[in-house]
């Protein structure tokens, strides 16, 4: 099973108010049943006869709705046009058949990082994946190795915590005395950090990483890449750089990486993550030699 759902649906907090709880639960149950009936109805509604269609199989789970507590896959038939993406197909399915189908999305152009999904067995952005390039049946699942909140929505909290554990902010040793003076940066140095600045926090890399899957404390590729982005920025200065190297050298930092390249393969922004991790390992060695 590629996705984890919390073992027990969390209903503890509401238990303090049994009256409300049971009323709400009844409402949820009744409505879910009705929605299921409705879905069957609307499923037949659009006439896709003679149209080019695709079938998507979508992972469903909701801790609160009885019929969805046991994870399952739902099939949806969607009309196909050239240019259509996996995200378009999901939106069509939601707006036409089942408005409870839940997934994150916003920009539709691979910049907001909301819709990293597990599509036909690999991590990709829904909005950046052409439906026409996929073999049917098209299986759409939440990111593996992350807790599922509902349907395709995973809990990103752990990912954010790792990102924030590496001092993910510019912190120069000193600033120009003149408030309006720029800190100079060479083109070459800007080029060196360029790819690392492209990260959109989608979490695809972390989800593809075997090490991260086995060790929850491993910083993971995206956070290490963030550290690289600042450690390699010549504007920051050597004191902060040393601090940064210390952070990524800790037990769950760069040395955990076994250069399997899975992160690099899935990154929708083509960031050479493994290379960046290797570069930081070299920096760490250099930094340590200084103190010998």
């Amino acid at each position: 099973m590629s996705t984890q759902v919390p073992k027990e649906p969390e209903t503890e907090e509401v238990e303090t108010d049994p009256v409300v709880k049971s009323a709400q639960d009844r409402r949820i149950r009744e409505k879910a049943e009705r929605t299921a009936r409705e879905r069957v109805k609307t499923d037949e509604a659009p006439d896709l006869e003679g149209e080019d269609t695709r079938v998507i199989k979508v992972f469903r789970y909701d801790p609160e709705v009885p019929e969805k507590q046991e994870p399952r896959f739902d099939e949806f038939h969607v009309p196909f046009d050239k240019g259509m993406t996996v995200l378009d197909a999901l939106m069509y399915a939601r707006d036409t058949y089942d408005s409870s189908l839940t997934f994150r999305h916003s920009c539709r152009q691979a910049v907001c990082g909301s819709d990293a999904l597990f599509v036909n067995g690999s991590q990709r952005l829904g909005c950046q994946t052409q439906l026409g390039d996929l073999d049917e049946p098209i299986r759409i699942e939440p990111l593996p190795h992350q807790d599922v909140v509902k349907d395709l929505v995973v809990d990103m909290q752990h990912f954010y915590e790792q990102m924030e554990a590496v001092d993910p902010f510019f912190d120069p040793d000193d600033l120009p005395a003149d408030e309006m003076a720029e800190q100079a940066q060479t083109r070459a140095n800007r080029e060196k950090i360029k790819m690392s600045t492209r990260c959109i926090w989608c979490g695809a890399c972390m989800s593809s990483c075997n090490i991260a899957a086995g060790n929850n404390d491993y910083l993971g590729p995206a956070a290490i890449n963030k550290a690289y982005r600042f450690a390699m920025d010549e504007r920051e200065g050597s004191d902060k750089k040393r601090e940064r190297i210390e952070i990524i050298e800790r037990e769950n930092g760069v040395w955990r990486c076994q250069t399997q390249f899975s992160c690099t393969e899935v990154c929708p922004k083509d960031i050479p993550l493994t290379e960046h991790i290797q570069a930081l390992k070299r920096e760490a060695v250099k930094e340590n030699l200084k103190f010998w």
Partner: protein, 617 residues
């Protein structure tokens, strides 16, 4: 109930900058945002940030260009503030580590942009917005500012004195999307709205799905005037299936536009004999739609943007990201095929009325960024002028909300002696459906409790929470009805058809009628997802109410303004009428209905007056 000094609603460029400024002023700040900050649509901006940084340039020139670009509907004090403060705000970003593109001497690069007399558009590759957004968020993390992410703000807690100018804002009501919990957020000093643009009013837009204009609609229903809503910018080159923007750079490098007869119509049909494909956004957008409407569109839907003749080397060198966009989002190879494009909604110049400190007429309530109208863009925004607006006014509003010192504002907010009453010629009833005089209240819908004007700030927030709880329960408990998606689709369709780059009286009235029908259908809307967990069905249903109110406001403004100015073109009135229309269209939600009035444009700057000239380049 949560309690902070300053509550910032929205965490795009504008909200993040406001939060940092408020915190630096000593306030305890919290950000409440429906998306995690890095998911905000500021991240999509490509081109750059205008700032007069270099020798030979000056804030005065930037201000002149901006006033001219605005077609003299910008207010000079706001425009001058923008241009004066932008350089230091841009350098501030550099000091916060933003990865600007660099010149050989190591300084930040600038490039030319449409409508600018100096190459002052400061950029970071083709992803300036992404860098700006992440740089600001990094500073928020550094400062430990509290962020409630994936919390949807659904209402403002505003007192309900009769006159909006006497109302006070004490906080907001927000809904934790993950758990379904509804909470009050009390703001001791101020609430800053930074909720971005309303692109979802249209079905074809460069904006994100989350850009539903929530802040504008909430402020509007709380009695805050909204300004120049008809001023919508359309971008001529967006991909037909998604609305993804193909930057002007393609035409700048020599890309050409072709119709179905393979004609370079910009020249061959005389739309712009000099500038051709490089004419301004509104001219090219109207030309494309004329071609499509007259049957010369490709598949009756779009136009071809062809760059193949530029050769592979030049394309991969300078326009590489365009190749990726066309491939990923349209399945087209720009090296071997022309790219399909059509006009799409891009930017809202109008929004919540504010002065140059970001203050609205309701005390304690601020608005900044695309949701606000200070007004710096007037009837037409210049490329590269939105991002500086975020940081300049974000910083000012945040500081002001936290009690920072400012000189008195020169732009007035709310109705004054100079205001002129307007009248609306609508074929249908406007505003709230099924209103009876008794249940009218400040926020348009529910009656205020008797004696509510004496409520304490905390009680004001509590009352707003209760009202919202009733709304959410109603939506969730309703057994059956209409799915909001079909209501939203109807509105988007009529707006795209009738309130587009072409505006004709009959069509505008048709749009009002369609919006009315949609409003009536919305009365019967229900949420079929029964779950409390991550119920996006509920969130989208609430957003659709905002889309309805703003669609109506945009159409009303478009109907009222019978002239051609900037982005606003009227078939029956194809000239700019300075005698009559050097004024802003204002709408105030009054007793559940929009009320139209006007306020004069401020053309007097600090030391000079901007005399209207023709907007030709």
């Amino acid at each position: 109930m949560h309690e902070h000094d300053v509550i910032v609603v929205g965490a795009g460029g504008a909200g993040l900058r406001a939060a940092i400024a408020a915190q630096e002023e000593g306030a305890d700040v919290a950000m409440v945002t429906k998306l995690h900050p890095v998911r905000s649509h500021t991240g999509a901006a490509e081109g750059g940030i205008n700032a007069a940084l270099r020798e030979g340039d000056s804030w005065e020139d930037h201000a002149y260009d901006t006033m001219k670009g605005s077609d003299y509907l910008g207010d000079a004090p706001a425009v001058e503030t923008l241009c004066q403060d932008s350089p230091e705000e841009v350098i501030q970003l550099e000091h916060w580590g933003m990865a600007f593109s660099r010149d050989d001497d190591g300084r930040v690069s600038q490039r030319p942009f449409g409508g600018l007399s100096f190459p002052r558009t400061t950029y970071a590759g083709a992803e300036t917005g992404h860098h700006l957004l992440h740089t600001l968020y990094e500073q928020v993390v550094k400062r430990g500012i509290e962020v409630y992410d994936e919390w949807y703000v659904s209402d403002l807690a505003v007192t309900d004195a009769d006159d909006p100018e006497n109302r006070e804002c004490h906080g907001v009501v927000a809904y934790d999307i993950k758990s379904g919990e509804l909470s009050g957020f009390k703001a001791r000093d101020g609430v800053v709205l930074a909720t971005g643009g309303p692109g979802q009013v249209y079905d074809h837009t460069t904006n994100a799905v989350a850009n539903t204009g929530d802040g504008v609609a909430m402020a509007y229903r709380a009695g805050v005037p909204i300004e120049d809503m008809e001023m919508i910018q359309f971008h001529p080159t967006t991909l037909p299936s998604t609305g993804v923007l193909i930057s002007e750079g393609v035409r700048g490098e020599g890309g050409i536009l072709l119709n179905d007869d393979n004609e370079r119509f910009m020249f061959e049909h005389g739309y712009a004999n000099n500038a051709g494909e490089l004419a301004s956004r509104d001219v090219v957008s109207r030309a494309e739609l004329t071609e499509i409407n007259e049957g010369r569109g490709i598949e009756d839907e779009y136009i071809d943007l062809d760059m193949r003749h530029l050769g592979e080397e030049r394309i991969t060198d300078r326009l590489e990201n365009i190749l990726h966009l066309a491939e990923d989002f349209e399945g087209v190879d720009g090296l071997t095929e022309p790219m399909p494009v059509k006009p799409g909604q891009h930017y809202a110049m109008g929004g919540v009325e504010t002065n140059e400190h970001g203050e609205t007429c309701v005390s304690g309530l601020y608005a900044v960024g695309e949701c606000a109208c200070a007004s710096v863009h007037g009837s037409n925004r210049l490329g590269g002028n939105a991002l500086p607006e975020l940081i300049v006014f974000g910083a000012r509003a945040g500081k002001h909300a936290a009690g920072g010192e400012f000189e008195p504002a020169r732009i007035t907010v709310g109705e004054t002696g100079d205001s002129e009453i307007g009248s609306i010629d609508s074929p249908v009833q406007l505003g709230e459906v099924g209103l009876t005089r008794d249940d009218v209240a400040a926020d348009g819908g529910t009656a205020a409790a008797p004696g509510s004007s004496t409520l304490s700030p905390a009680e004001t927030v509590d009352r707003a929470v209760e009202r919202e709880r009733a709304r959410v329960d109603r939506l969730l408990n309703k057994e059956e009805g209409v799915n909001h998606a079909s209501v939203r689709a109807d509105v988007q369709k009529t707006m795209t058809q009738n309130v587009n780059v072409f505006r004709e009286e009959e069509n505008l009235k048709d749009a009002l009628a369609d919006i009315r029908v949609a409003r009536e259908r919305y009365q019967d809307v229900y949420v079929s997802d029964p779950s409390r967990t991550f119920n996006t069905d509920l969130i989208h249903t609430i957003e659709t109410r905002n889309v309805l109110d703003l669609a109506e406001a945009i159409t009303l403004g478009a109907l009222a303004r019978d002239e051609f100015r900037g982005a606003h073109w009227r078939k029956e009135h194809q000239e700019r009428k300075d005698d009559e229309w050097l004024k802003h269209t204002m709408l105030t939600w009054t007793d559940g209905e929009p009320r139209l009035w006007y306020k004069p444009v401020v053309l007097e700057g600090e030391s000079k007056t901007y005399e209207p000239k023709s907007r030709s380049y």
